[in-house]
Each structure stands twice: as structure tokens, then as C-alpha cells.
Symmetry: C3
Subunit: 335 residues, 3 copies
């Protein structure tokens, strides 16, 4: 159902510890933890081979995890190394283990063939760890297919409507004297699909204006990059004669099931890093509020409607060029 020979983002790296936790990725329940001595990152099928108790209810002991039901001990390769009151263990007592690594402040798991896993395949997001930038990372749970959540980001024309009362501008509303044309340019290479969308003379919302201290209209440029399986990096530039600010939005979608997904998000800015508004705390509060109360309810409502109306054909607009290019690429990849 999902591409599996690929890295899926599980969590912010800062959340990985010796406290095991479960996450379902591509329908597979997986337990994640760090070992107690070396701090190695471990991902295992979330079941004890003995009688299917979830290892996520267990306890990390040294470099291994002990099942809390009958005390069987499983190592980071998924093999049982100890059974209480026994001198040896069975070779069959084993579960699947997964490559699990840290990069760009996120933790990534490889679901498919471990031999094909290659850490360089994780999309580049150097701004997330750049010293002259400030990154805020969040995680969301979404009751929608991960592609629907991705589509939200592939059509940023939603920002002036869905986010009208938060950071959206007034551009594009019916009844305006002029229906401002958007400029869009789509390109792609072997890996990524890219889009540049430009809107000129945009009247910013008070929130977005405050970010850059803008008092007058700006040119707003979205440079977007889609990378498989479903990462979307957006460089958002707002500039006029007063100021120029740059934000990197990273949106990384990981399927849980066909109708639910995990959504990892980064917001990296180059303005007001040391002082003034917004602080990292402001950014987190604003972004988690916007995504949690505007984007996610809409995407979940779309998912519900697609199910209820038996998946009607979408009718694209001109702003959907990027989305269509990405969908075409996904079809090519998945055959």
C-alpha cells in the first residue's frame, strides 16, 4: 500500500529515550527506544515472540528490552537472549528489527529491506540545524491519509482562506477590484519536484506583518520542494523595501494506516532569533494552534467526505499545478 524502502519520520529526536513507546508506521506496530548504556536507537516489531505481549509495555535493561509479562529479554536485533528459569532460549524466539536513525533533529525508521537502507536518502534540511537560524519542531496526529495532508501543503493557495483569520492575506477574495494572478513555475529532477509561486502587492495579516515589521504590501514567494515519500520543504520569503524575512517550513508526512498519519513539522526562521517577537515559544504556540485548529480539521473533514461520497473526482484549479506534478511523480514511482 505504501512505499516501504524509504525513511519515515517517527518523532523529534529529542523525544527518544529509554522509555519505550509504540507508533504504528505503514500499518506495522513498532516499539522505539534508546538503550541504557550505549544510547543506541532501537526499533522492533512491538510484540514479544513468547505470547505477543507488546514490548512497549516492557522495560529497557542495559542494551536490551525485557517483556513485562514473563520476563523474556530481547536484544536490539530482535532476538530473545534470556528466558527465566531456563538455561537456553529457542532460535525461533525473535522479532523483526528496523533501521532507526537520527538526522536533522528527527528520528527516522526504514520499514522495507534493511539492506537497502541508506542514511543519505533522508532529504536534506540543513537549516534545521544551522547556527544562525532557530528551528521549532512539532508532531501532529491526523485522521486522514498522509497524501491528503501532503496535498494541503502542495497547494499553498489555501493560506489566504483557511488561514484568513490567522496569518492569511486578503489576496484572491471574490469581489476584489482585481483578482491578482499568481505566478507558478514547476520544475523537477530525478528526486524532487519543485515549485515557485509568487504573489505581488500582498496585504499581510497583522500576525505576518508583525513578524517582519512590515507596514506596507509585500511580495510573497513560496519556494517548495517535494521529496519522496512525502516531505515538503517550503521556503517562504516576504519582502518589500522595508525588510526581507525567510521562513523554512518542513512538513513530513508518515502513514500510520490508510486513513491516519503522523505529521512532523519544522518552522525555521531567520528573524528575531535573539530578541523581540516571535520567540520560539510564540512560534510553537502560533503554529500548533494554526495547524491543529485550521489545517488538520479541514484535512480530516476531507478524508471523511471522500469516504462518505465514495471518493469523487477532484476538479483542479490553476493553483493545483504543483500538486498535479507531484501526484504524477508518485504514480511513476509506485508504478
Amino acid at each position: 500500500m505504501f512505499p516501504i524502502n524509504t525513511w519515515y519520520c517517527v518523532e523529534r529526536a529529542s523525544e527518544i529515550s529509554t522509555q519505550p513507546f509504540e507508533r504504528i508506521i505503514c500499518n506495522e506496530p513498532i516499539v522505539f527506544f534508546q538503550t541504557a548504556k550505549s544510547g543506541s536507537m532501537v526499533a522492533l516489531e512491538n510484540r514479544c515472540p513468547h505470547r505477543q505481549a507488546p514490548l512497549s509495555m516492557g522495560k529497557v535493561v542495559g542494551e536490551e528490552i525485557m517483556c513485562s509479562y514473563h520476563g523474556w529479554v530481547i536484544n536490539s536485533g530482535g532476538n530473545c537472549t534470556y528466558v527465566p528459569h531456563q538455561k537456553s532460549t529457542s532460535r525461533n524466539a525473535k522479532v523483526k528489527s528496523y533501521p532507526f536513525v537520527e538526522k536533522w533533529g528527527f528520528a527516522w525508521v526504514w520499514i522495507g529491506n534493511p539492506l537497502k537502507s541508506d542514511i543519505t536518502l533522508i532529504p536534506d534540511m540543513p537549516w534545521l540545524v544551522a547556527k544562525d537560524r532557530s528551528a521549532v519542531l512539532s508532531r501532529f496526529y491526523v485522521k486522514a491519509n498522509y497524501q491528503l495532508m501532503a496535498d494541503n501543503l502542495l497547494d499553498v493557495s489555501h493560506s489566504d482562506f483557511l488561514h484568513a483569520s490567522s496569518f492569511g492575506s486578503q489576496a484572491g477574495k471574490k469581489g476584489e477590484t482585481e483578482n491578482v494572478q499568481q505566478e507558478m513555475e514547476i520544475t523537477s529532477d530525478n528526486v524532487a519536484v519543485r515549485c515557485i509561486r509568487t504573489l505581488r502587492e500582498v496585504q499581510l495579516s497583522p500576525v505576518a506583518a508583525a513578524w517582519g515589521g512590515f507596514t506596507r504590501v509585500v511580495t510573497r514567494i513560496h519556494r517548495q520542494k517535494w521529496t519522496p515519500p512525502n516531505s515538503i520543504n517550503i521556503e517562504l520569503i516576504m519582502e518589500n523595501e522595508e525588510n526581507k524575512i525567510t521562513i523554512n517550513h518542513d512538513h513530513i508526512m508518515t502513514p500510520e494506516t490508510e486513513k491516519t498519519c503522523h505529521y512532523l513539522f519544522g518552522f525555521t526562521r531567520d528573524y528575531n532569533i535573539k530578541k523581540g517577537y516571535p520567540t520560539d515559544k510564540d512560534v510553537r504556540r502560533e503554529q500548533e494552534t494554526i495547524i491543529g485548529t485550521e489545517d488538520i480539521p479541514m484535512v480530516e473533514a476531507q478524508q471523511l467526505n471522500k469516504t462518505r461520497f465514495d471518493d469523487p473526482q477532484d476538479v483542479p484549479g490553476q493553483a493545483d499545478k504543483f500538486l498535479i506534478a507531484v501526484h504524477k511523480r508518485i504514480e511513476e514511482i509506485t508504478g
Copy 2:
């Protein structure tokens, strides 16, 4: 599954406004609203043709509704008239629209062929708007097939048992000196099926006695009229040498799904309209309590049991004559 060339009651007309809301009727999710300028009543398939966002999350602008996701605008005929940043729209950008009208204080939708819709097909309920009467309207949501809720009203012999502690009388209890016979007379014409059920020397409950100031036994007459698809109008007369009072109960069942329905209810009385007990507020409180805590839990329990026991054959009693006549008529209509 359901008759569709017919009017279904959606809401009390007083609840229709420029705030769009969704209701599922016969498995179809529909958005309902009034337009901002002319106050026209509009019912549309509850999805934007662009990417299936529910229009009920949108906003009424003038005579149209704007989708809150990407700002597409849909008119009362279901056609998209505007896409932001575009000079024109696609002909394919349209959704289904439904006839939607107000009558007798209720709002009614026609699910089937709009050309067949005819407002005169809505059953007559003139008492609901009569100047010398007082009508109180309510709406309930029921987790049962709409026919099960209708059957509740087609066998009013339940009132002395299910409502024993509210307005029921003592008539019919096992162990009484005399098991009072009920008189029932069933008639029907091309449209309606009717029943008159008479019980004599009925000892009223304190609540019902208070309505008419009765201190002695009464004759209680139910005149019932069933009209397709599933409206039941009950004229309830209680009289003795002290007083005579008349209540019109209107019960209108609208299918949501096979196992859920909307239940619209009217209670119109000819007594104590200007002063004394009950006020309209008393009526609402009493009726919503009785229906909500006595009728609906029982009907939902029946639905659950029919599912769990794989729909056993009912065993009718003599009081079921009216119900049987109506079920027969429904079979004739639906072929």
C-alpha cells in the same frame, strides 16, 4: 433503500440561517443554509467540487457559499462561480442541489428528482400555525431505523407502560379487576392510513390530569393519521363531564442511515394557552424529557436487539392493527 421522491423534514424552520449546517438525509450529506441577501433556502451536496472539503465549514457570502479551504464560491444551484486567481471556472465544478422549502414551521428537503417536487405533497398540519392553538416544536436524534421510531407512534398502547411514571394511565395492567378492551377502527384512502383508538374510564396520571384539571376518569381517544414517507399526526382527546382538551402530536421521522434517524416533533394544545399550567416552556421540558428518556432509549434498545438477534419475527398483538395496516401500505408503495 428509502423512498426519495418525497419531502423529508430536516429542522424547525426557525433554525435555518446564514450559518450553514450539515445533516445526513437518506445517507446523503447535505449542507443547509439561507442566503444573506434574499434569505433563500438552499440545500447542496455537502462537498466542494474542488477537493471535497465540506461546504458546511464554509461561509455564506451574499447569495452564495464560499468554501473555507481554497476560496472557491458555489451558488444556490450548486455551480462554482469563482476560483481565486483565475479568470474563469470549469463547467465540471458543480455539486447537486436539492429543493428545500419551509412549511408548517418546519424545513423540508426533496432528495429525489427535483422536477417531481411539489410543495402540496407535504402533509397538512394547519394546527401548527393556528392562532388559537399553541405549538411547541422539538428535534431528536435517534440511533434506530426511522420505521422503528414510527412504530412507537403507530402503537400508542405503549403509553400506559413505557410512560407509566410520567403521563401514562393505569389502564391494561395485569391483575386489574377488568382488562379494559380497547376499541380500534382502521381506515385508509389513497394517501393516508387512519386509526381511532378509544379507551373508556381511564384513570389519568397526575401529570395528564393536571393538563385538563381532571379529577375523575376520562374517555381517551387517539385519532391517528399516517402519511408517507413517515409522518404520524395524533389528535388526542381527553374528556369527561368536567372538561375536554385536545392535543395534536406530530411525529415526523426522517432517515439518516439505515440505523439512525432524525425525529421532528410538534405538540399543539388548545388548553391553558395564555395562562396557567402548562406554559410552552413546561410543554417543551416535559415532552423532551419523556421522549428523550423513555421513548428513544427503548427504540434504540429495540434496534440494538434486532441487530444482535438477527432480526427476529415480531409477534403482533391486537393493538398492532394500525401498525400492520401501515406496514402493508408501505410495502405497496415501495413495491
Copy 3:
């Protein structure tokens, strides 16, 4: 799916009264009550033959139950004896009745052929009513197949891990200087399968030590008896040169559905019955806490995992000898 010509434990006998209640046993919704005059125990299919209303919403009147919807009256044999406003009733107006008896302080129902029911087939648990012992009975609802809950008791090696922070000992933990061997002996006859498991030099937890006033290591012996369909009686003896105490644990599992069950439990002790710790109240609090927060969450997690992982093959350990013998017997019985 389940053996039906057998007694299933429904409740503690003390809970049976004239207040009817429903329990689903082997997928069959059944209403249970005691009659008002003779105090007879009655179990009926939980539906009125008239229109499928649950009889558990009805009211016991004398030796019968009256449906609360339209007042039909059903006797203890499941036959309708009265319909309001009618002179007679229909022969078809009847529902299934079940043998339902009290024994050992529990109430038991027979789902299959009533002619085969025989009260002597209920497993012996005389300690539950012995005068020199004190029994505390509990009931739990478990979202797991009843065999999974039984398996919990068939492998008591879980007690030192799952109950590590309550009454478990330290025996068997990885990294101990010596991995103490357990001694297990399995026997069986025509009816029961039995197991004796002995662990020597066990360091008790503070809770278990307090029960017998132990300050030093003990020998811990579990004598277990499994009886069909799924009762497990455990005699637990802890002794050393200081004291010897005996506890009888009775675990009786009754299927609700394939994935849910009722779990009846007895804890009968021979120590500190009249004074000191634990009182019956202490026992109830301790046991309901341990079972409710340690055993049941684990068994429910197993059930969930078996469903999610599509029922993987278990890998048994040496402690599973008893469990394997019982599973084999169950296969023989059910063919």
C-alpha cells in the same frame, strides 16, 4: 465457537435480585433475575417476543417479568402469559429460557441443551464456603478472548514479572547469580488437568511477606487444576520454618464474544481471618487492583496484538508445559 453444553459462571450469587440485568454469554444476550415471590433464579433470552424490546428494561412482577414497552408479561419458562387489553395470548409469543443455578457462591447458566444440564458438573470449590476460611469474590470484564485470560493463569511464571511491584518475588530475573530452576509436574484425569510448580528459596515481596509474617525466604508451591470449560483453581502454599499459609485462587472465565469475556474470581485464605492484616476489605482492594491494573491490561494488549499481527505463532518456554497440556485437552474436547 464455544462449548455450550457446560455451565458458565455469570455473577456472584449475592448480586442476583429482582432487578433484571443483562449479560451476553457466548454471544447470546440473556436477562437474569430472581422472581419476587419464590426467589427462583430465571434466565431468558433478553428480548420480548412482541417487538424485541430487551426484557432487562422490564420489571419483575411476582413470578414473571413485564416488558416495559407495551406491558406484555413473560413467565420463567419464556412464555407470554398476558397481553394488555386482550383475552388471550399467542402460542408463538415465547423466548428461550436457560437453566440458571447457584453453587459455591456463584450463579451459573447452561447455554446448550437444557436436558443435558446437571448441577454436579459445576467444578468443586468447597473452600469457597468452608467455615474456617474466608472467601472474597470479584468480577471483571476483559476485552480479550476468554482463553487468553485463562492462559494468564496457566502460566504463573508471570507473577514475578507482571506483578514485580506488587506481590511478585525477585526469582528469575536476568543477571541473578543463579537462574533458579522451577520444578513442574503435570497430571491429568478424565476431567481435570493439574500442575504442581515449586520454586525454592524465594525472596518474597513485602506484600506477600506480610501475609504470613515471613522474614526469610520461603518455598512457594502452586497446585493448579484446570477444569472445562475454563476454570482454574490454584492452591498457593508459602512456607518456611516460620509459618505456612494457604490461599485458594479461583479463576473462572466466561466468554462474552470471541474477543471479550467475563472473569469471576475468588480469593480464599486460611490466615488472619479474624484479625490482623489482611482483612477481607484489604484482600478485595489488593486483588482488584492487581488484576485490574496488571493482569487485565496485559491480556487486553495481547488480544489487540494478536489481532493486529494476524495471530502469530507463540514460542513456548519451559514454564508453558501446563498451558500446553490444557490447550491439548481443549482440542480433544472440542474435536
